[in-house]
Assembly symmetry: none
Amino acid sequence: MPAPKPNNNNKDNLSKSALRRQREREQRYQTILQAAETLFATEGYHKASMEQIADAAEVSVGAVYFYFKNKEDLLIQMMDEIGYLMRSILGTEFKKYGATIEGFKQAGYAFFEDFCINYPERAAIVFRESVGKSALVEQRRKELFDKCTGDVLNALTAVSENEGITFKGQFSTEVIAVSVMGIYERVAYHYLLWQNKTEDLKHIGRDAVAFIVGGVKNLFEEASCI
Amino acid sequence: MPAPKPNNNNKDNLSKSALRRQREREQRYQTILQAAETLFATEGYHKASMEQIADAAEVSVGAVYFYFKNKEDLLIQMMDEIGYLMRSILGTEFKKYGATIEGFKQAGYAFFEDFCINYPERAAIVFRESVGKSALVEQRRKELFDKCTGDVLNALTAVSENEGITFKGQFSTEVIAVSVMGIYERVAYHYLLWQNKTEDLKHIGRDAVAFIVGGVKNLFEEASCI
Amino acid sequence: MPAPKPNNNNKDNLSKSALRRQREREQRYQTILQAAETLFATEGYHKASMEQIADAAEVSVGAVYFYFKNKEDLLIQMMDEIGYLMRSILGTEFKKYGATIEGFKQAGYAFFEDFCINYPERAAIVFRESVGKSALVEQRRKELFDKCTGDVLNALTAVSENEGITFKGQFSTEVIAVSVMGIYERVAYHYLLWQNKTEDLKHIGRDAVAFIVGGVKNLFEEASCI
Amino acid sequence: MPAPKPNNNNKDNLSKSALRRQREREQRYQTILQAAETLFATEGYHKASMEQIADAAEVSVGAVYFYFKNKEDLLIQMMDEIGYLMRSILGTEFKKYGATIEGFKQAGYAFFEDFCINYPERAAIVFRESVGKSALVEQRRKELFDKCTGDVLNALTAVSENEGITFKGQFSTEVIAVSVMGIYERVAYHYLLWQNKTEDLKHIGRDAVAFIVGGVKNLFEEASCI
DNA sequence: CATGAATGAGGATTCATTCAT
DNA sequence: TATGAATGAATCCTCATTCAT
């Protein structure tokens, strides 16, 4: 879990006041990050100025720079936290069902019904505001998506092993995993970021997941019938 | 095909020299657009300055402003041209096979093997550089994707009618169409923009298309077996 | 002689208006440089802001950046021009007397009575404002002083050859040349920059030169008597 | 010797612990000064931040401000200490030889062979980092150089009286003193700060001193032969 | 005494856009 | 039409200094 930066992590030997100060520091770090998140999501990364962010977080510009190296760092820390959250939501659900097709579906549902609906700003950050901003951000975004793709890949492998089925022929499961991520991403972008159909997102997500599962099943030896 | 902005007069009543001037104008318009495209794709929309673009196109800054209202307009015109190209490539292939599943697959192959491989910079523009730049650009991007989604939707409908099959139950074909676009987009982003695996893109694309078609077939009444 | 930067130096084929524009460009370059010189000399390099400089030169901030890469560049161009002027003044005088001891003395007089008295701001730049500002500036300053030291060295050699005398023993003429520069520099700093004794500078300079010449003569074989 | 600012109480009536605290205070004062000295010399006065200095001295930023009014004060105290050291080195040597020409030479040797070689960072401070920083610093620097010039002046007078000789005519011995300082300064700057020729500094210094002494002798009535 | 988080004024630099020629 | 010099608002970032704990 991403931790605030200025952090001499000796959780022992801390006086009460030191503990409180550390707590305040973490709180302020989160406040700033939250303010930036909202501004990036609503105004856009470039339009949101460091001064606006400081204002929104009710701190001085200098304070923002005390907690974050620069604007880019702010975005990167944000992506890390969001990435962690997103993977938690998906992973938790999947594990709850013990690596089954059902778990795979539930994870998909959770993406739309938990992540997208409850954290639309965060979806805006990962899917829109972090795209093509700088080499470093792009690199980080790649790493995040690689991890997610890896998760999906592992899930697929686990399911197939678990349910005693194998993939047909020479299919690249990695491409499947990337495709699954693509569906999640674009469906969220389209219906959440563009059309703001928060209400319908549940049904939409169910359909998308059905499409994914259908596609996946089709690649399984036994499941296939054509 | 989008036409140059200044003076899209009718081609009648034009003297030879006027014709030549018009030709030159169109050429220059394209030169600038091409220079901007390359710079946006390599440097990024924000890092590429109008002066750099002018330099690359071997014209003055003022000339760029003669052909394009502003930087945003440059990006928008670019998106329009790229959108037109992309839809042409997909549509042409699909029609060639008379609205069949085969045509649907061939269109997918064409996306990866023609569009992505031959125009990687243009892929970078639609999938990366036009994301989250401004309200207007975002709006235009939405329209472009809506059109593409519509194309896919129409294709799916045409195929189902053509091959005498219907979609199972209550499934939203629009969501399917959006998902298909998502797969195209992310697979291109992942393997072309991030990993630059131009060589492998053919095989990767084939797998992605197989996944799509599997998912789609699964949603057809007759095609389903589970 | 340092020339303005933006300069496509084809002095042929230039229309009247082009010539005038070029003239204006060079003039503006000089105006900005002059304004910066005065501000650097009076306020100090760091205290003088780019905005102040622009204001003083009656141009916009952007214009300053059109002619100079950055603040450091402004200082460096300035140093180059001042270095050129200083060496001209010294060299011209020396040559006028045909590489004799008299010429050496006259050059020294010219340093105080022409350079220091007529261009006190420029003296402030070379001797004060360019000291310890940045690695690049320091490098440039070193080069300038190296050239000056070289000039003095050449002068000493020329004089000794010219007047048929040789240096005693193993003395490093380079060290002598550096010392001579040191005298010029500190006397100027002390009496001009610190005490502003413009009136007395003539006499002061004469004494300093007498000291130098005495020291130098003492190093000549024939001239020595101890 | 400059004493620490806070609490320069008399050393009477002090308990043991008070004495220890005072000792610690002086030590800390010196530690900070030393850290700042190194940073100013290596990074430059402006580039070195108060935080860096605090870090290097292993104290908090607040502590630095407890011992020194502000950054400027840090530099000024430093200059005072360095000035004291430099004058000690020169004066001690001169006195050792009882105000003779020999003592004058030895003092010069000591400048190069003791001060410059053993304290190059301090040379960097007086000759480079304290130049043109602020009005106050410049004032202090002037005072320091005035004292040094005064020392040289007194030495010259003492020597002439001591050895029963007088200066020729109307020569300003002050100008000579300033010139001598100029030689010391520039030779140190050139060979130590620019060329880092620590090895050769002994020989270089000897040549410089020879030049000075030659010049000086030439100004004495009896010593002169031309 | 010591700490170090917070402040916020200040400054360099960029760059889209304009417009006289 | 074309040019490119000029504009100046906008923005990121630094850092000396303060002060509550």
